[in-house]
């Protein structure tokens, strides 16, 4: 079963030698320990991970395995206590200051005093872009997430799914090459989730962005990813990295195919083995 991924893989293991895609994230022996009153908590331990341009990488694992923390380390929202990490070849802090990534949070986190269009404009205002450019990007990205016509609505007037789409438009408006998404569809129902998954895949296929996606849904991870990272808790570490050989162009029907189910099975095995049921 483990042979499946590596056998057909064309360019993940040896890609550094061939005409390789750019390395976007390079994590080496990284650890993160939180000092709490009850003693140290090892959130992440000995993480090694390389992510290349154009990858769609999912972090999957049970609660408390550190998948969100790892994403936050990449985004410079947490600092590692040991090891090294580079984003676009520089430190995460520099990458953040260069606005190298767009980050989508678990909740939409839209500002209720701003209309949807003004919410999408928020990062653009902070970047100090000219007004015309702002208008252009707002229109383009609202269209991309199918929210045209809702520019003047306030967040609380929209459904949860629409709010989350608006927050994706806001992250995309920065026009980053790297998109970091922390369980963005976790709070949505199955149908909306499927729909947004498809839209996200189309977007990825169209733009060749690098996406790092945190989820705890196996079908979602397998459906979206070109690479699946299975994490396990206490301490948070990588248990398995699965390179998916599913075609880049996919639709929801692929979830019924044997290839899909094989990968899903391997992910499930990894989750089960990595999860200690000691408590």
């Amino acid at each position: 079963m483990t042979a499946l991924a590596s056998a057909k893989d064309t360019g993940t293991v040896e890609q550094t030698t061939s005409a390789s895609p750019k390395r976007v994230i390079d994590i080496d022996n990284l650890s993160l320990t939180f000092e709490t009153n009850d003693g140290p908590v090892h959130a992440l331990a000995d993480i090694d991970l390389k992510i290349d341009e154009g990858d769609f990488v999912s972090f999957i694992g049970p609660s408390g395995c550190g998948k969100t923390t790892l994403l936050r380390v990449i985004a410079d929202l947490e600092r590692p206590t040991a090891g090294s990490i580079t984003v676009n070849g520089v430190s995460p802090e520099e990458a953040r200051l260069n606005r190298a990534y767009g980050y989508v949070f678990q909740a939409a986190a839209l500002y209720p005093w701003r209309t949807i269009a003004k919410n999408v404009a928020l990062p653009l205002e902070i970047m100090g872009l000219p007004k015309a450019e702002q208008q252009d990007r707002i229109a383009r990205n609202m269209d991309l997430v199918n929210l045209s016509g809702f520019e003047k609505k306030f967040p609380w007037q929209l459904s949860g799914g629409m709010q989350q789409r608006a927050s994706i438009a806001r992250a995309l408006a920065v026009e980053p090459d790297l998109l970091l998404m922390d369980e963005p569809f976790g709070a949505l129902d199955e149908i909306v989730r499927d729909h947004l998954n498809e839209q996200l895949l189309q977007l990825w296929a169209k733009t060749n962005k690098t996406v790092v996606f945190v989820t705890h849904s196996i079908p979602e991870a397998v459906f979206l990813s070109s690479k699946i990272v299975v994490l396990c808790p206490r301490p948070g570490r990588i248990y398995d990295v699965i390179d998916s050989d599913l075609p880049r162009e996919r639709n929801l029907d692929i979830r019924e195919t044997p290839e899909f189910l094989k990968i899903a099975h391997r992910v499930r095995d990894g989750l089960r083995a990595g999860h200690s049921y000691e408590d």
């Binding site: 990534y101 500002y111 005093w113 902070i126």
Partner: protein, 381 residues
């Protein structure tokens, strides 16, 4: 089933009120209203009016004119009988007997009944609901004033204890120039200047306190201490420092308004949640951008809370401060001197002006709040 029983258990207030009105009118019609042999029949218009009132009251229970017109008639007749009672009692000050009180109570109950009926119209349409929403507190206020008038004149309460609203009103319109001068001195100068300086400086210092952790530990306790100073003790000192004119009163207002504004603004600046701050961090937003685009908007509900509290505190502070030395003008000065001269109606006139000014001030701040924090769940509804 359960809904029906619940409805049955509730007291049918309108019916109770209606029959109470009838009872009181009957008592009123058959007992003397002023003196031993002065019955209601000596004022025919009042008698007729009250009979109509009783009929209009119970019409709903008896099952005719159960509509808007019937309700309006009830309201109009209640107003007329109130006016007739007021005008008759003014010729018989302090002579009221059982019949008069019964009629007063009947009129009051009828106006209550009218408001009950009015509240039921609310559901019909949007614009009607708005009018009713304004009418209900207005009618309530007028009812209170009329009752005050009737009780004070009917029972002949001495003017020094409690003047009738009509006397206060007379005094008010006859001394507009004095009241206006007092209002200018106290409100337009001391209160507004003190309010703006107090709230403004507290706002700026709150931002400073928030930025510098050392100040949070150093300045907040001092602010707390200053706010705990008794205004009665501070006011004379301020008069010694800043003289008799309005600046000393403005200083008292500053001391009173500073702390609520400081504490609320500091709390408001901390109101944004972690995810919102992380969001700004991912945009590499600097301190000022985060302040203006996230933290200040988030703090607005807190800030407006302080501004509303301070709008009434400021007026109290300025009036009290004038008790401790002032030129011969000002609302607090007028109140303290007119009380000494037993001109209680003038005191009440000043109180009325202060109440009106305070309410309008508060209302203005609340209106601005609605416009600024339209997005807050407490306002968007």
């Amino acid at each position: 089933m359960s809904i029906q029983t619940a409805a049955k258990r509730r007291i049918d207030m309108p019916a109770l009120l209606a029959w109470f009105v009838v009872l009181m009118v009957i008592v009123g019609l058959f007992s003397p209203i002023f003196g031993p042999d002065y019955g209601v029949m000596d004022v025919p218009s009042l008698a007729v009016c009250l009979v109509i009132l009783a009929i209009a009251g119970v019409r709903y229970e008896l099952g005719f004119m159960r509509n808007l017109i019937g309700d309006l008639i009830l309201g109009l007749v209640a107003a007329t009988s109130a006016w007739l009672l007021v005008s008759t009692v003014s010729q018989h000050v302090g002579e009221a007997k059982l019949g008069f009180w019964a009629l007063v109570v009947a009129t009051w109950a009828a106006s209550w009944l009218f408001v009950e009926r009015l509240a039921l119209w609310k559901s019909r349409s949007q614009s009607l609901a708005r009018i009713v929403n304004l009418a209900i507190p207005a009618i309530f206020g007028i009812t209170l004033l009329v009752l005050w008038q009737l009780v004070v004149t009917g029972a002949g309460v001495p003017k020094v204890l409690l003047p009738a609203p009509s006397e206060i009103w007379l005094r008010l319109i006859n001394s507009v120039p004095t009241l206006w001068a007092d209002f200018q001195q106290t409100f337009l100068k001391a209160v507004l200047a003190g309010y703006i300086i107090g709230c403004g400086s507290a706002f700026l210092i709150a931002i400073l306190v928030d930025r510098v952790p050392f100040l949070r530990r150093g300045l907040l306790p001092i602010g707390n201490l200053v706010s705990a100073l008794p205004i009665i003790g501070v006011a004379p000192i301020m008069v010694m420092w800043f003289g008799f004119d309005w600046p000393s009163k403005a200083a008292v207002v500053i001391i009173m308004t500073f702390f609520p504004m400081l504490v609320n603004t500091v709390a408001g600046l901390a109101a944004s949640d972690a995810m919102q701050r992380d969001l700004m961090r991912t945009y590499a937003s600097n301190y000022w951008q985060t302040l203006f685009k996230l933290r200040l908007p988030m703090a607005m509900p807190f800030i407006f809370n302080a501004l509303k509290i301070n709008s009434t505190l400021a007026l109290i502070g300025a009036i009290v401060a004038e008790f401790f030395g002032t030129p011969i003008v000002g609302m607090g000065f007028r109140i303290s001197t007119e009380v000494g001269r037993m001109n209680v109606d003038m005191v009440w006139a000043e109180i009325a002006v202060a109440a009106l000014a305070g309410s309008l001030f508060y209302g203005a701040v609340a209106l601005i709040e609605r416009a600024v924090t339209f997005w807050h769940p407490s306002i968007r509804g």
